[in-house]
């Protein structure tokens, strides 16, 4: 389960209980300390009396999603590389030009331009990797030199350089991405499969590097650049986010983030185009490699939104971010998505209700790992929820949690029951016990006996004990009510059948009846349970609750890392090394402040 893996490196999820009065501090508060926070806090969080500060940066996307210790490592015959058709240049014989630093200052601009033009020559890295070795080296060295040059020299980004630099970037990078090639034959699975790496990376890397330095150069003037870095450019850039190579997406992410930061005129356009990518991903293809990176950028954008939020941004949350929860490869981008959602809620708590309603709407029905992710995210949301918002959503919310607690999949039940260790959530429940307990009690009680998994029993007893301590009287009422409900349940089922029977009779009187033959009678919904608790049961329950729950508390801390992989695919050493060797331009994206 990639989520868990990521979790380890991700900045601490909204650290538990730093501001809440009732915080448990169960995470020891030390989580924050060992997280690198290289960039300065861009802006103080809006002051809020009882909300805890969340992270100022979105969780970075992992470069390699696969944990490389599992499967056997092999060197594959075919390298996992591909490249789309670059229109290879006809004349690929490059002359080595003199070094920039050795030439007279007044000739440098001209030489720089010459070098940039030289780098527009494209080479073949796929069908014949050994071709043009000498000229490839000329280009590589040229790019390297220019990266150095633009980083360390001042006043070299002159007006004449802009079109040349943008053209060089476009020629090298804007291309149709190749079809995804998965050697195992099946469709590329972003959660499991190794990515195919870009064969031309030795050059592309430097082109990206150069362009990033170009954008970040102190001499860089967006006003001049906006003639060249326009909507068309951005659209082509966004197309590349579907690249299978994580190193390429990493560069793209940083570059787009810079462009968003520097070109105010392009911001709305960029957001709109990203939305289109998301719509297509959600409603048409369910396949895109760069969702996590795009969400990471959006996370930093949302972080910088001015208050009050614009309607457009709220629509984005409801119509894009929430539906993103429904795609089956959610695990690939869930940390970034959850970050974005929580950012919104921290900005404006009145959005909590639609968000939770949305999550409940998209709640997974059969995909249990995804359900665990939902539970993770929901807890993050509950961590920052306002008590007034809580009371608006608690009924549907706890009806869902009751289902999760009853899930036959023990990881789901377990994750849901961990909520009872969250003191803020417990305080919210306690304040609303009269409405929450009656919803939760039947699920807890039923599974305290019938769940197959021992760990779950312990957690359930723990939860029941907390309820009991919360309000003894209410607990007893719930027990009584549970008994009564159970007896009524069967009666109701009979009632329902009779109701439909009657409608069926009415329908038969209609002369059209034979034409609209009703569907065959549906099988009644059976309840799996057979016993009803007796008074003794309840006494027994109370006693067991005490003993079992105590025992459970001891074990509860050892949260195991649950790891599940569909299969052990052999992994390619080359791919692993290549990914490990990649250095990020920036570990975290900073917030892009919204122009007011």
């Amino acid at each position: 389960m990639p989520y868990k893996l990521k979790k380890e490196k991700e900045p601490p999820k909204l650290a538990k209980g730093t501001a809440k009065p009732s915080s448990s501090g169960k995470d020891g508060g030390g989580e924050n300390a060992d997280e690198p926070q290289p960039q300065p806090q861009p802006q103080p969080q809006p002051p809020s009396s009882n909300k805890r500060p969340s992270n100022s940066t979105p969780p970075p996307t992992q470069l390699s999603k696969i944990k490389y210790s599992g499967g056997p490592q092999i060197v594959k015959k075919e390298r996992r590389q591909s490249s789309s058709r670059f229109n290879l240049s006809k004349n690929r014989e490059l002359q080595k030009l003199p070094a920039l630093k050795d030439s007279p200052t007044q000739e440098r601009e001209e030489l720089f331009i010459q070098k940039l033009r030289q780098c527009c020559v494209l080479f073949d890295f796929v069908s014949d990797p050994l071709s043009d070795l000498k000229f490839k080296e000329v280009k590589r060295a040229g790019l390297n030199e220019m990266v150095e040059y633009i980083t360390h020299s001042r006043d070299v980004v002159t007006e004449a350089i802009y079109p040349e630099a943008v053209t060089m970037f476009s020629v090298n990078l804007f291309r149709t991405l190749p079809p995804s090639s998965n050697p195992t034959g099946a469709e590329f699975d972003p959660e499991e499969d190794e990515p195919t790496l870009e064969a031309a990376w030795p050059h592309l890397q430097l082109v990206y590097e150069f362009f990033l330095r170009f954008l970040e150069s102190p001499d860089f003037q967006p006003n001049i650049a906006k003639k060249y870095i326009d909507q068309k450019f951005v659209l082509a850039l966004l197309d590349l986010f579907d690249s299978e190579d994580p190193r390429e997406r990493d560069f793209l992410k940083t570059i787009l983030h810079r462009i968003y930061g520097k070109f105010l005129g392009l911001r709305a356009y960029i957001r709109r185009q990203i939305n289109h990518i998301f719509y297509r991903f959600i409603y048409e293809t369910e396949h895109h490699n760069g969702i996590a990176e795009l969400l990471e950028i959006l996370g930093s954008i949302i972080n910088g939104f001015a208050l009050p939020l614009k309607e457009e941004h709220k629509m984005f949350l409801i119509r894009v971010l929430l539906p993103l929860h429904k795609v089956k490869s959610l695990s690939v981008y869930h940390p970034q998505l959850a970050y974005c959602v929580v950012q919104f809620l921290e900005k404006e708590s009145s959005l909590t209700e639609p968000v939770i309603v949305g999550l409940l709407k998209f709640w997974p029905k059969t995909h249990s790992p995804k359900e665990v992710m939902f539970l993770n995210e929901l807890e993050e949301i509950l961590d920052v929820i306002e008590p007034s918002e809580f009371s608006k959503v608690m009924e549907p919310l706890f009806r869902q949690l009751a289902k999760c607690v009853s899930s036959p999949h023990f990881q789901v039940a377990e994750r849901a029951l961990y909520y009872w260790n969250n003191e803020y959530i417990m305080s919210l429940i306690s304040d609303n016990a009269a409405r929450v307990l009656p919803i939760m009690f039947p699920a807890l009680y039923r599974n305290s006996k019938s769940h197959w998994n021992k760990t779950i029993h312990g957690l359930i007893y723990n939860a029941l004990k907390l309820f009991m301590e919360m309000n003894q009287k209410l607990f007893d009422d719930c027990t009584q009510q549970y008994k009564a409900e159970k007896q009524k349940g069967r009666f109701r089922m009979k009632e329902r059948e009779e109701m439909w029977q009657k409608i069926e009779e009415l329908a038969r009187l209609n002369p059209q009846y034979p034409m609209f033959r009703a569907p065959p009678p549906l099988p009644p919904v059976y309840s799996m349970e057979t016993e009803t608790p007796t008074a003794e049961d309840i006494q027994l329950l109370k006693r067991t609750v005490e003993t079992e729950a105590v025992q459970m508390l001891k074990d509860i801390k050892k949260e195991k890392v649950l790891l599940r992989r569909k299969s052990e695919l052999p992994q390619d050493v080359y791919t692993i090394k290549a990914l490990e060797a990649h250095k990020r331009a920036e570990e975290f994206l900073t917030a892009s402040q919204e122009a007011l």
């Binding site: 009632e495 329902r496 009415l506 609209f516």
Partner: protein, 667 residues
């Protein structure tokens, strides 16, 4: 009508106080409030029942407004609703009232979930046909316009699918408006909408007047085909097929071909792939002349495209392309303009390309005739038969019938054999499985003699494969071979070898004998089954492995129908009864099953003589079959087994014993 029913005797919980006329809707409302999605879904699926109970008028005035206003539910429920409403015209009072169904469907056509929207559009299309022309203009067209100018892209995409159904029956003024709306959707800002419009462009073109096609559709087509998103451009290729069918050759050349040529060389491989994939349709649509001038050169390029995906798609179309060429001059065109490119593909670097080619290349032999096949195609077949990729070889072998008709399979047999042998021993079991499936076909084409000499041993070797799926396929293969070559052949070549395996030290192989007998007995007939197979099966009843024993029981049940009364009474029954007291519970279970099956069979054989005995006995038997087998049954205790021991003699007793047995163990 609904009032005909008296006041409800049932619980009035849902119905409100005594007002029985509200009852059906109240029930629905109540049910739709239930927490359980399955219950809500069930209620929606019974919507027609509710409508029938209400009658047409109240369905219109009460049920539909309720559905329109209040329904907000899980997509699953909405999908069911969208589907139901498509068939609702009769329930609201026929075509005159069909427009009542539009409001709920309109809101369903705007939801976010694609499946629901698509279903709503499908239902709307269905209902549009039931509208009168007046109602269509009064109600349906305004709905399309509303959707087409909706704020959210979902409603605009849904609108795209509705233009072609309302256009033909609209008046000229309205037609112009409809076209205008469609035009604006084709240049919508959202790519999703442009894609939806592009995918309906062809359909819409078909219902337009020819002039409008030329003046309006063609420019739209040209624009979409040069859209900035390749996902839009590739849909234009599909539309091209429909548009091309509508235009004359000259218009085609002037209006469509430039765009199509451009698409075939698009910088995105997805667009080129689409051209390759739709090639046969395009070829038919543009006619032979343009095909020769334009499409063939384009096809050559696709066959040597730099993306394997495109080459593979083109390779798939080779046969169809050749078939559809005009008969006159076809051979020359293929020989000079297609074949050279095919030769290249035989040694392509990508295995998908090669295997795509291998799946169609054999079809060329019928088109090119005997001589060309021998001279030009045969070397290619032979090369592919030696290809390193098993799928390529397999595709060649699976299409041998085409070549067989033209040059006879003998030409190939020398190369065929090593290829088959290699596939038969391939490390991947799926490859072995695939070649087994072609064995009967190969046997038919190669003849018995060749088969016995070269392939028989392979077929027998599969029986002891270490993968069960292969052993299973191998047994089925034997049955098909027997059907082909006859029982005599079976008796001489197959049966002895199968029966020898009954003594194999590996119990899996012993079971294979039983599985073979299961399928072979019918093909071989009573005599061989009784004389050769039955003794072996009966002997295996004493096997030390329980799996073998209960498979004996199963086999006996299987071959029972082939055996005669004597064999059943004298040989099968005693053995089954013995197995019925086996210490293993599975063996016992299957023995019981077999006993009752055999008993039934015997009764059938007997029935002409003693027809009167039957009815009661049959009842008993039925009960037995229906009884599910729960875990923990037949634990080996209890008196039932002794009963079996005492009642070996007559059939009637056997049956009584069973009744006793089950009544005792059932409580």
């Amino acid at each position: 009508m609904a009032g005909a029913a008296g006041p409800g005797t049932g619980p009035g919980a849902a119905g409100g106080d005594g007002d029985d006329s509200l009852y059906p809707i109240a029930v629905l409302i109540d049910e739709l409030r239930n927490e359980d999605v399955q219950l809500r879904l069930n209620s929606i699926k019974k919507l027609s029942t509710i409508a029938l109970a209400l009658g047409v008028e109240r369905t219109r005035t009460e049920l539909l407004p309720f559905l329109t206003d209040t329904i907000y539910d899980e997509d699953e429920v909405l999908l069911a609703l969208a589907e139901q409403l498509g068939n609702f015209t009769g329930l609201v009072g026929g075509p005159d009232f069909a427009h009542c169904l539009l409001p709920p469907l309109e809101s369903l056509a705007t939801v976010e979930e694609t499946v629901v929207r698509d279903k709503a559009v499908e239902s709307l299309r269905q209902i549009s046909q039931e509208h009168t022309p007046v109602a269509l203009e009064a109600h349906f067209v305004p709905l399309v316009k509303r959707l087409a100018s909706g704020d959210w892209f979902t409603s605009r995409t849904s609108a795209c699918g509705l233009f072609s159904v309302c256009y033909p029956r609209a008046s000229n003024a309205v037609k112009a408006e409809i076209r205008q709306h469609f035009r604006s959707l084709c240049s919508d800002d959202t790519p999703m909408v442009r894609r939806a419009a592009a995918s309906k462009l062809g359909e819409f073109a078909k219902v337009l007047e020819l002039d409008s096609v030329k003046s309006e559709i063609v420019p739209l087509f040209t624009n979409l085909a040069s859209d900035e998103q390749d996902s839009v451009r590739l849909l234009a290729v599909e539309a091209c097929v429909s548009i091309a069918q509508l235009l004359s050759q000259e218009d085609l050349e002037a209006l469509v071909m430039p765009t199509l040529r451009q698409a075939a060389e698009d910088k995105s491989w997805r667009v080129r792939y689409m051209v390759a994939d739709k090639f046969s349709e395009l070829q038919k649509a543009v006619g032979p002349k343009i095909t020769l001038n334009d499409l063939i050169p384009a096809f050559q390029n696709l066959l040597k495209d730099c993306e394997a995906e495109v080459r593979a798609a083109a390779a798939h179309k080779v046969k169809e392309l050749c078939e559809n060429l005009p008969a006159e001059g076809r051979e020359t065109i293929i020989m000079n303009q297609i074949l050279p490119f095919i030769k290249e593909l035989v040694s392509d670097t990508n295995q998908h390309v090669k295997s795509a080619l291998a799946s169609v290349i054999m079809g060329l032999s019928t088109i090119l005739g005997k001589e060309n096949t021998i001279e030009h195609l045969l070397p290619l077949f032979l090369a592919q038969l030696k290809d390193e990729c098993p799928e390529v070889r397999l595709n060649i072998i699976s299409n041998l019938d085409c070549v067989n008709e033209v040059i006879g399979i003998r030409q190939l047999s020398q190369s065929l054999l090593p290829a088959i042998v290699e596939l038969a021993e391939d490390a991947k079991w799926r490859v072995r499985l695939a070649i087994i499936e072609y064995m009967p076909l190969l046997a038919g084409q190669l003849g018995m003699e060749f088969f016995d000499e070269k392939l028989n041993s392979l077929c027998m070797a599969w029986l002891v494969d270490h993968v069960y799926a292969i052993r299973e396929a191998a047994t089925n293969n034997l049955m098909k071979l027997v059907q082909k070559f006859g029982t005599e052949w079976a008796q001489n070549t197959i049966v002895p070898k199968v029966l020898v395996m009954a003594n194999d030290p590996n119990y899996l192989h012993r079971m294979t004998t039983l599985f073979c007998i299961n399928v072979l007995s019918e093909a071989c007939g009573q005599e061989i089954t009784t004389k050769q197979m039955l003794p072996i099966v009966l002997k295996m009843a004493g096997d030390q492995v329980a799996n073998v024993r209960f498979n004996v029981a199963k086999s006996l049940q299987k071959i029972g129908p082939i055996l005669d009364t004597d064999a059943l009474q004298e040989e099968v029954k005693p053995v089954l009864q013995k197995l019925g007291q086996d210490e293993d519970m599975d063996v016992k279970y299957f023995a019981q099953e077999a006993i009752s099956a055999v008993a039934q069979r015997l009764r059938k054989l007997d029935c002409s003589a003693k027809a009167s005995e039957e009815p009661s006995a049959r009842g008993a038997d039925k009960n037995h079959f229906l009884r599910p087998r729960g875990p923990g049954e037949d634990t080996g205790k209890g008196p039932a087994h002794q009963l079996h021991g005492n009642t070996r003699d007559t059939l009637a007793q056997l049956e009584i014993a069973e009744l006793v047995h089950f009544s005792q163990s059932g409580d």
